[in-house]
Structure formats: structure tokens, C-alpha cells
Point group: C2
Chain length 327, copies 2
């Protein structure tokens, strides 16, 4: 192809992205400058705006005829940023998008409270939809996100984490937000129940695939491209699907080596390379990519419920991009 | 009087308090046991349930005829508990209601995320009212609470804090939540605009008085009654009205002594007693009690907009109690 998938999506959504950036700026409205700085540190650090874009496309694909889809879409970037602020603190992550995490720059207290502020802004905007179902969806998302993150925290460093439990964690901590963005798009478009369910399914499956690829990239991407340190998941004690799968398949000696790397947080580059080779040799990388691919197919199948439209096509492209992305 | 104000209020609201406790238990619904433990640690540690009670009374005083006021009232205890979890962490408070603060027992990550969970539960219940205005009020409260707490944090240890700025902080970090509880009571009762405004004013004034007395009690109550350490505000670098007022009036030598106590966090009991004497001598305690008393009168005046009823009388009593309470 003459144009990559990413370029195609980006060019078609260029104007929407500009509008989203502007809406993110103008609706923040803190009375304290420190809140703007702290929120801005992460909010304007090069996020993909995946969640707002998916909400906008979902609304349009369901026939939304109003002009407030950009405004409502920022709910999901504010929510996402709120969770990043809290999760980076919870995980004690040092780096986010290539720069020091907000809690490291502004301190834990300000990071916690700015997260709360962003959550409140998201709700305030959501309440302007006049749809209590929108609020109900968002409240449900937030319940899941917080519990998903605690769940992950509880299982931190546990090498017996199963694939099922991994799926439950990524469902709660990532997929529900993307699912919610797509579902709320359908709700503000006043979609019928079938379309709402289709968009909800699409978002769920794209969300799962997105997180699985995210977890894969921790082992396959270059550090400078990824914007965080290589091997970060191991260092944070996060067992993800490539590792879960490979550990199951590994011969005793290889498994012992992998476990020693997972337990030691001071592995060197050679050890990490050897670890990655084993993930590859035992099929952990392929299996993860294949599972993600299956979810992308399910996401695209869900879209069949909608009439064909440019937005529906773009949603197909975004699903493919979730799989194809390099960072 | 043969019965104290507190006993009178408690006896009339006994059944409601039992119902509120039960609703707080049955609607928490976490899927993780750790979330129940962490939330429960503070949620069921002897709170007064002031906010839910005020919402229930406000709804009834505005003629609410449904049977869901107890259910909706717990929104405000969940919200309050969420902010306590985050604020105790932010302030690094060691003790809450006579026991170790949740973040000290369960760790910062779990405290942050359980706070998020409680906030989400509050919203989820609020969304069941079917009233987007209720959500809008709650979102506005949360914006104010988070910024009020950051504001306090920013001014921590600053001995030049003015009375105006103190009022702004207590407005945002305390009064808006009580104001919101009363206003939402009016909203679910489908009150007219005048009644809604009256309940909002009542809540605002009671909230301001309540916080002022709270700040006063830090200097006048016994530690074992208060449930936190004496002199906690000084140790946390919080300048409150009794101190702000006395500092303004103090002669240079006394002011210098007071400033040295405020700056040193290792003052002994004798120094603290001398500090309190100066607060008294320079009128800081009386002034604070008088200001709180003025707000209580304004709160009661706002209630004149409502028809007389047992609930209206109880709201008057609660306003008086805000002033009379010993802890």
C-alpha cells in the first residue's frame, strides 16, 4: 500500500483531532494553575486520542446528526487521563510517553487530586448530555477501572496468574473504557438497542485487542518508540499474556530461567534478550498476536449491524490498526 | 434541658440511621474483598452520617413523597468517604476516627483506588435518580473538593494565609458537599426553584459553620474525644481561623512565639497549652465561634422558605448542633 493504515486514519480524522485538542484545552477550566499544569503534563503529551475518536466515529456511524460529538468525546480522554494519573502513582511508574510521570514531577498528593478533578470534569460534561444512561455507563466504567487496577495490584509478582484472570484484569482496566466510549457514542446518537449493543461489543473487542498488543509491545518494541522503558512490565511485576503462555509451555530449565528474570528486577540486557527469545520460541508472542487478531475480527463482525458509512469504514480501520500498531 | 440536642436529634433519626447503615452495607457491591475491607475500614468506623441525614431531611422538608430517600442519601456518605481516603493520604494523616488511617493500613495504591471506586458507586446510585441535574451538582462538588484540597495543600505552612482565602478553602473542601446533599434532597423531592435555593443556602451555611467548629475543636477538644491527635492541624501545616485571627491581633513577642510553634512540628505539651492560651487571649477562639454562629443563623433563616414540618424543625436542630457539638 502507498499509505499506511495509520496515515490513512490520521488524514481522514485530521480535523476531528484538531477539534478534540481544542476541546480538551477549553473545557478543562480549573481555578488553580497547578491543576492545569499537572493535568496538562499528561493530557497534552502526545496521546493518540483513541477513546474520543472512537466515540466520535461511533456516534456518526449510528447516524448522530448533532454537532456536540467532539464536546462529549473529551469525557473519555479526561477519564483516561484521570486513570493514568492514579495508575502511574499506584504502579510507581517512572515514565509515561517518554517523560517523567506526573506524580514524580508534581508529587503524589497533587497527582491524586488532579485525577479526581479530571474525573469530575468528565462527569460534568457527561451530565450535559441530559442522558442518565450515559452517567450510568461512565460510573460503571469507573467502578471497573478502579477494581481492575486493584486486582492487578493484588496479583502483582504472582507467577501463577492464569490466562483467564489476565483477561479479567485487562477487561476491567482497559477494555471497559473503550467499550464505554463506543457505547456512549451510540447513546448520544439515540441508536436503537441493537446498534448500541453492536457498538458496545465492538468497543469491548477492540479494547481487549488493544491491551493485548500493548502488552506484546512491551517485549517487541524499541524503547525510544514506546515512550517507556523496555521490560517495564516485568519491573512492575505485571505478568501479561506472552509470558503467561510461554511459562506454561516452557521446559523446566527455561521456565526456571524465566522465573528468575521475573523475580529479579535487576536483569541485564542480555538476560532480557534471552527472556524475549524464550517468549518467541514458546509461542507466547504469536499466541498473543493471534488472540488479539481474533478479537479484532470479532470487533469488525459486530460492525455489520450498522449501515455502511465512512465512519463505519474508519471504525474497521481503527480495529485493524489496534493490531498493526508499532507503539 | 432534660435531653441534649444531640440526644434529641439521635432519637428522632434513630430508624433512619439504621436504614442508612444498612443501605451503606448493601450497596457497596465490590467484586474484590480488599475493596470492601478498605472502604469498610473508614466507612464503618463511627461516622456521624451527617451528609446522608441532611439529604434525607432536606428531601422530606421539601415534601418528598417517595421511598428512595435513604438509598439516594448514601451517595453523600460514599462521596465523603472517597474524599477522606484521598485527603488522608494527601495530608499523610496518621489517624482518623481514633484508628490508623486507611492508607497507613492498606497502602497508598489501594487507598487511592478504593476512593475512586467509592466515587464511582456514588455516581452509579446518583444516575438511578434519572435526574441529570443531580449528576451535574455532584460533578461540580467533586471539582470543588479536589481543587479545595489542592488549594489547602498549596498554602500548607504559609503563615500569611488570609481569612478570605481560608473561607475559600473551607467552602470548596467541606461546605460544597453538605450544600450538595441538601440541594439534591430538594431536587429528588422535585422542589421548586425557591426551595432548591433555600436548601442549597442552608447546606452551604451549615457546611461552613461545621468546618469552622471542626477547626476550633482541634484546639478545644480532648484528644480521646476528638479521635485524632491534638494539634493535628498545626502538625499538618494547616492554618485555620482561630490561628489566622489571633496571629493578626498578637503583639510581636506573642506572634513570634506562635510562629515558632507553627513552624516547629515537635512542640511539647506545655508549648501547645501556651499556644492555645494565646488563641484564647487574642480572641481567635471566640471570633471563630461567633462567625460559625452567624452562619448557623443564616442557615436557619434560609429554612423560612419551607413550610413548617418535623423535618424542617430537625434541620434547625442540626444547624444548632453544628455549633454545639464537642467532637
Amino acid at each position: 500500500m502507498s499509505q499506511t493504515l495509520k496515515e490513512k486514519i490520521a488524514s481522514q480524522l485530521k480535523d476531528d483531532l484538531i477539534d478534540i485538542e481544542e476541546a480538551l484545552q477549553t473545557n478543562l477550566n480549573p481555578y488553580l494553575d497547578l491543576v492545569r499544569q499537572t493535568a496538562g503534563h499528561i493530557l497534552f503529551s502526545g496521546g493518540k486520542r483513541l477513546r474520543p475518536l472512537l466515540m466520535v466515529l461511533s456516534a456518526r456511524a449510528c447516524g448522530y446528526s448533532g454537532n456536540r460529538e467532539i464536546f462529549f468525546s473529551i469525557i473519555f480522554e479526561y477519564l483516561h487521563t484521570a486513570t493514568l494519573l492514579h495508575d502511574d502513582l499506584v504502579d510507581d511508574a517512572a515514565i509515561r510517553r517518554g517523560q517523567p510521570a506526573a506524580h514524580a514531577v508534581f508529587g503524589n498528593p497533587t497527582a491524586v487530586l488532579t485525577g479526581d478533578f479530571l474525573l469530575a470534569r468528565a462527569l460534568s460534561i457527561a451530565s450535559q448530555s441530559g442522558l442518565t444512561k450515559v452517567i450510568h455507563v461512565i460510573a460503571g466504567i469507573t467502578e471497573n477501572l478502579s477494581q481492575g487496577e486493584i486486582h492487578q495490584l493484588l496479583r502483582k509478582g504472582d507467577l501463577s496468574l492464569s490466562e483467564n484472570e489476565y483477561m479479567q484484569v485487562i477487561h476491567n482496566k482497559t477494555a471497559v473504557l473503550i467499550q464505554g466510549a463506543c457505547r456512549v457514542g451510540a447513546l448520544i446518537a439515540n441508536a436503537d438497542t441493537k446498534q448500541e449493543a453492536a457498538m458496545s461489543d465492538y468497543g469491548l473487542y477492540v479494547g481487549l485487542a488493544f491491551q493485548m498488543i500493548d502488552d506484546l509491545l512491551d517485549y517487541t518494541a524499541q524503547s525510544d518508540v514506546l515512550g517507556k522503558k523496555i521490560g517495564a512490565d516485568i519491573k512492575e511485576g505485571k505478568l501479561t499474556l506472552p509470558v503467561i503462555f510461554a511459562l506454561q509451555k516452557a521446559k523446566p530449565a527455561d521456565r526456571a530461567f524465566m522465573e528468575s528474570v521475573l523475580r529479579s528486577k535487576n536483569f541485564d540486557e542480555n538476560e532480557f534478550e534471552a527472556f524475549k527469545s524464550l517468549l518467541n520460541d514458546y509461542g507466547g508472542l504469536d499466541y498473543t498476536r493471534q488472540q488479539a487478531s481474533n478479537y479484532v475480527e470479532k470487533a469488525k463482525a459486530a460492525l455489520a449491524e450498522l449501515d455502511e458509512s465512512p465512519s463505519q469504514t474508519l471504525l474497521m480501520d481503527v480495529a485493524d490498526y489496534a493490531l498493526a500498531r508499532q507503539y
